[in-house]
Amino acid sequence: MTRLPIFPLIVHCALLVAFGCVAAVVVNAARPDGLPLLPGQVPCPGVPVAWWTRLEHVDAAQAYALWQQRAAVFVDARPHEDYIFNHLPGALEMPYRDFTRAQQQFAELLNSASLIVIYDAGERPCAEAVRVSKRLSGPRIALLRGGYPAWESAGYPVKGGHDRGEVGQTP
């Protein structure tokens, strides 16, 4: 009858997992963009506390005022089809899935912006707008509360079809 040493194997597996977890917690605590490990600190997963506290929120009326004054660059984080159907006039198309290409194309505009307002479809609180916001760097970044539907339902101008903010178009 063969007796296999199962207990040492389990202990070694547990220790390996423990080494990994301890290293993860230590490094995560040391880095400035570490994620909150306890629930309830940030409502969206994958968002560092420092980033979330820096993020601003604007409603549709505030966004419209910024749009009129040309005081902000607007970023559309929805998929390409939604952008082509309708978007904020002058908004840059930066879908999450094609982000790198869009970022390269609009680098100059984004780098010179004092405020970037990002919107998505507004269906979920932690969707594309939050994800795109994490990948942008700028002095001030804001999310449009309620996303595109909030803007449209307030009766503010929209634009359909191709625009100079579309990925692949010359800005």
Binding site: T2, R3, L4, P5, L9, H12, C13, L15, L16, V17, F19, G20, C21, A23, A24, V25, V27, N28, D33, G34, L35, P36, L37, P39, P45, G46, V47, P48, W51, Y96, R97, D98, F99, T100, R101, C126, R131, K134, R135
Partner: protein, 169 residues
């Protein structure tokens, strides 16, 4: 004949250990660099409760690193190979779950967290199946075969002692 077979098995074990160590270390690097993006990817699988997403995104890559380091150093190889197998099975279940929900093209988060790093789900499953075969084989060689052969040699010695050194058993 037996000696050459042992040598081949030894070299195969070494190659698999180092190969798997490189694969798991490489897989962990980008996830460690961008835990927030990796959290987004595992959120899309919709398999974990929200409270576990961040801890999972932070800890999984470091467990991969621990497995890679121990495989490379040749310490606790059966445990490292077993954990590697377990993680690969977990990845396959996640991909199969996404596939069952109709996501034929998905971002698995396997080696890159870049938003453009998407792949065809069936291809990812096959790749993981090959990885699982390698991990399972290494575990089988280093734990099962080693322990069974040790038990067998101990039994032979016991029988020899009982027969007063006579090997005609």
């Amino acid at each position: 004949m037996t000696a050459s077979r042992c040598t081949v098995a030894w070299w195969l074990n070494l190659a698999l250990r180092l190969g798997l160590a490189v694969v798991f270390f490489w897989a962990a690097l980008d996830k460690i660099a961008h835990p927030n993006r990796f959290a987004d990817i595992i959120t899309d699988y919709q398999m974990l409760p929200t409270a576990l997403l961040n801890p999972f995104a932070v800890m999984l890559p470091w467990v991969e690193v621990a497995v890679a380091v121990f495989l490379a150093l040749g310490i606790w190889v059966p445990a490292a190979a077993l954990l590697a197998s377990g993680m690969t099975v977990m990845f396959m279940i996640a991909i199969a779950y996404a596939l069952a929900k109709g996501a034929a093209d998905l971002h698995c988060g396997c080696f890159t967290t870049s938003a453009e790093g998407r792949g065809e789900a069936w291809g990812l499953l096959w790749r993981d199946a090959i990885l699982l075969a390698a991990c399972a084989w290494l575990f089988w060689r280093t734990w099962w075969v080693t322990n069974v052969s040790r038990e067998t040699s101990v039994s032979r010695e016991t029988i020899q002692e009982a027969h007063g050194g006579d090997t005609r058993d």
